[in-house]
């Protein structure tokens, strides 16, 4: 006979403000099988937990239902409580009375009734629960880092320095990411490359780190502790083991007019190229789409001139398989480019540039050697207009969010320009200045007060070209919305930070969730900000949302610490939510008829064909399905497919689900 305890939490006032908790507890106490029911202000607190433990012992409870917040929040907490009191942790069920009742409905009898219905349903379920025991699986202590920007570099170094193997894959030919393109970084104005490149070199030389550049994720399967990843190494056409990085090839390359991605199209590169002088690995790659050999079948100058014979036109994409225990996703971001803005000339005006292009202009390693010159004629601009929130916080453009970094980098850009040309004029059109961060507001104030950057609160409606100048039309909302017209030499748009183009595809490969802007979703917005809903996959950096460098690095280290936590033991326990095929005494053995439909639908190949044979004669008696609990992830697809209900899912059994349906709809009294 079941002896169930029901514990209703007030959650401070979060639940009790709209749900009559005493009434819920009272109704629960009258349910068949319920021995004890009570309510308390904070069930998850120490006294609350003690109360549950004492009640379990005192009333000899066989299962508990906690009516509280979402099971996604505190299921683990209350399962531990059950275990402490001496009952199996899977004999605990959570009735979600906060996220799905008290927070979404007004105070009313109907709301209380819904709470009672939910508690009744879970009481019925817990009565059908059977004790389950966690499954132990070995952990592969190698981490995969996807993305070699500052987030990936930081996470990789942290994990590698703790003594574990790390594999980094980076889709472009060099690691470094967007940070390697930046000139100087706010709020200290230290040179980005000076702080980044030593870390890139450290990655390349670290004995625990394997680096694959020009590589992409092909597929990911498996689960936490035991991921199986196929990686596509794109054909680089250069044998890295032979290449010394001497540079003869790209000096001889005749195809020289290809827009340089690293310089954001502000300069040209050759078809065989190293992305930038500090690239890691500092070895070239052939851009097959623009190489004369691949387009026309002749040329071959690089091959002829290579002193080590490293050029290999026949090189093919290669798929390698690796086994890892944890994955850190650090794929970074993209920005909207100037062609996204019809009002600012659709990217047709060469002197309207985006923030990253300005970074390249201001960078000592950039196409102008750090002199800020107009892309159209190379003249040094007398007046620059900076436009913040270009695309961001603009519902009409489909980007409601704040891109977070633009206020700061716009101030930095204006400051850099004023340092290089003190007599020039810098205007910033802004909506609000969001400079929350250590020494951030001081930095913006310095731009305004010391460097005399002119901040105008208002938006720019239109830009057009007239006699070699850009006419910027806007308003000043602090001057009674007075129209303003500025004849500028150059305009810099602080364009919105957006997710990478292939972010959605990657998320689907990894089975992690993402939001409507294709930024990856964290498991909990406050309490689990670096994990995803898929155990063993962590997030770092701007692939989650727009972030500046300090935040990115913090998150990368946090992700690394989560990985290290996972790697701290040789075995990890997994939820025993797995499918089982029923077994019974001979001569029936099982009700399974061996149709093996379950085997076909299982996404994890967790179902095997089992031959039941006579022990003495070895004659085949029956063919049945058998679940490999190590591979089963507990989706239950096989259960829904099974024609005679021979396979069932522990924790979500047919009996339990049916009991829930019946209990939810029928009131016993």
């Amino acid at each position: 006979m079941a002896r169930i305890g029901v514990f209703i939490c007030h959650c401070g006032e979060n639940i009790s403000a709209t749900v009559n908790v005493t009434q819920v507890a009272e109704a629960a106490s009258k349910l068949p099988g319920v021995t004890y029911a009570t309510d308390y202000k904070y069930m998850c607190s120490d006294p609350g937990q003690t109360m549950i433990i004492e009640a379990i012992k005192e009333h000899k409870l066989t299962g508990i239902v906690v009516g509280s917040c979402s099971p996604r929040m505190h299921e683990a907490t209350f399962r531990k409580v059950a275990e402490k009191a001496g009952i199996n942790s899977y004999l605990c069920e959570i009735a979600n009375l906060r996220e799905q009742v008290s927070w979404v409905h007004p105070k009313s009898d109907a709301t209380t009734q819904k709470a009672i219905d939910i508690v009744r349903t879970l009481v019925q379920k817990v009565k059908q629960d059977s004790p389950l025991y966690p499954i132990k699986v070995p952990v592969t202590k190698t981490a995969l880092i996807i993305g070699g920007g500052i987030a990936g570099i930081q996470a990789a170094l942290d994990i590698a320095n703790a003594g574990h193997q790390v594999i980094i894959i980076e889709k472009s030919p060099s690691i470094g990411g967007h940070m390697s393109q930046l000139s100087e970084t706010f709020p200290t104005l230290d040179c980005s490359q000076c702080i980044l490149t030593p870390r890139m070199v450290e990655v390349a030389q670290h004995p625990n780190i394997t680096l694959h550049t020009f590589a992409e994720v092909e597929s990911i399967s498996g689960f936490v502790g035991n991921f199986d990843v196929n990686i596509k190494l794109k054909a680089r056409s250069v044998d890295l083991s032979k290449c010394t990085g001497c540079g003869t090839c790209w000096q001889k390359c005749p195809s020289k007019k290809i827009p340089d991605e690293f310089n954001e199209g502000l300069s040209d590169r050759t078809a065989i190229y190293t992305p930038f002088p500090q690239a890691v690995p500092n070895k070239p790659v052939i851009d097959r789409a623009n190489c004369i050999w691949f387009l026309k079948g002749k040329c071959g100058l690089c091959k002829k001139n290579c002193p080590t014979g490293a050029i290999d036109y026949e090189m093919q994409d290669e798929i390698i398989n690796i086994k890892v225990g944890a994955i850190v996703t650090a794929t970074g971001f993209d920005i909207k480019h100037t062609d996204f803005f019809p009002e600012y000339g659709y990217g047709q005006y060469r002197n309207v540039i985006d923030g990253l292009q300005f970074e390249r202009l201001a960078s000592a390693s950039g196409p102008t050697g750090g002199e800020i010159r107009r892309p159209s004629d190379g003249k040094i601009p007398e007046k620059i207009v900076f436009i913040a929130c270009a695309g961001s916080r603009d519902k009409a453009k489909g980007i409601e969010y704040c891109s977070k970094i633009c206020c700061m980098y716009t101030a930095k850009h204006a400051m850099l320009y004023k340092h290089k040309k003190p007599e020039g004029k810098a205007y910033v059109f802004y909506m609000d200045i969001r400079a929350a961060g250590k020494n951030y507001d001081e930095f913006v104030r310095r731009a305004i007060e010391k460097d005399e950057v002119l901040y105008i609160r208002g938006r720019v409606s239109r830009i057009y070209e007239k006699n070699d100048k850009l006419i910027v039309k806007g308003i000043d909302t602090l001057l009674n919305a007075q129209p303003i017209e500025i004849e500028a030499d150059m305009v810099v748009l602080a364009t919105a930070v957006v997710a990478n183009k292939d972010a959605e595809l990657l998320a689907q490969k990894m089975h992690i969730s993402y939001d409507k802007h294709h930024f990856f979703s964290e498991a909990h917005p406050k309490l689990r900000p670096v994990e995803t809903n898929t155990a063993g996959i962590m997030l770092a950096g701007a692939c989650q949302t727009a972030k500046d460098i300090p935040d990115t690095v913090s998150q990368a280290s946090a992700a690394a610490s989560k990985v290290l936590g996972l790697f701290s033991s040789d075995e990890m326990t997994r939820e025993p939510i797995v499918a089982v095929v029923n077994r019974m005494a001979p001569p029936q053995f099982t009700t399974c008829t061996g149709c093996l439909l379950c085997m076909e639908v299982c996404p994890y190949n967790a179902i095997e064909r089992e031959e039941i044979r006579d022990r003495r004669t070895g004659d085949l008696i029956k063919v049945a399905a058998k679940v490999n609990a190590g591979l089963c992830q507990g989706c239950g697809t096989c259960v829904a497919f099974c024609r005679n209900k021979s396979i069932d899912l522990q924790g979500f059994s047919n009996q339990q689900m049916l009991s829930e349906v019946i209990a939810l709809l029928n009131q016993p009294f």
Partner: protein
């Protein structure tokens, strides 16, 4: 009309743990208000949902049913939602064939980030079922009725 507005339908939602359940939690975190008629039963995956359970829900007094999981390609378990979708397509045609009002079953995709969509679907379905009135089709065919028919048949 008056009686219609007083009718509070019972609606059961069969949702997956990873997307729609989390989406419903998000609606809560955002304090989005919606009708209290829908109650959730949590499944690991829409692929787990045995469609006979939907029938059991109607048999036990549900007036409407929602089935919701991850968007295509977003399934936590790779393909459970595709299986659910295929099974639903076949199951629906079977229900249509036997004259069941399939409008009472709403099949939807709601991701973990779509709290507002969850609230919106709940409100829409509640309104729809309200306008349809209580579900009585299967109840006409309940066991007592069958037994009566049977009794009549053998006494004749």
């Amino acid at each position: 009309m008056n009686f219609m507005s007083e009718f509070e339908p019972k609606i059961v939602a069969f949702v997956c743990n990873w997307c729609t359940y989390a989406g419903a939690d998000l609606a809560g975190t955002n304090r989005t208000k919606y009708a209290s008629n829908v109650k959730i039963i949590r499944f690991p995956c829409t692929g787990r949902i045995d469609f006979m359970l939907l029938m059991k829900a109607f048999e036990n007094g549900a007036d409407g049913v929602i089935v919701s999981g991850c968007h295509p390609n977003d399934c936590h378990y790779t393909s459970g939602n595709f299986h659910a979708r295929r099974r639903w397509i076949i199951f629906r045609s079977l229900l249509d064939f036997i004259g069941f009002d399939t409008d009472r079953i709403t099949f939807s995709w709601i991701s973990a980030a779509e709290g507002n969509k969850w609230a919106q679907i709940v409100d829409e379905v509640t309104e729809k079922i309200k306008s349809k009135g209580p579900f009585t089709d299967l109840k006409k065919l309940n066991c007592t009725l069958l037994k009566q028919l049977y009794d009549e048949a053998i006494t004749k």
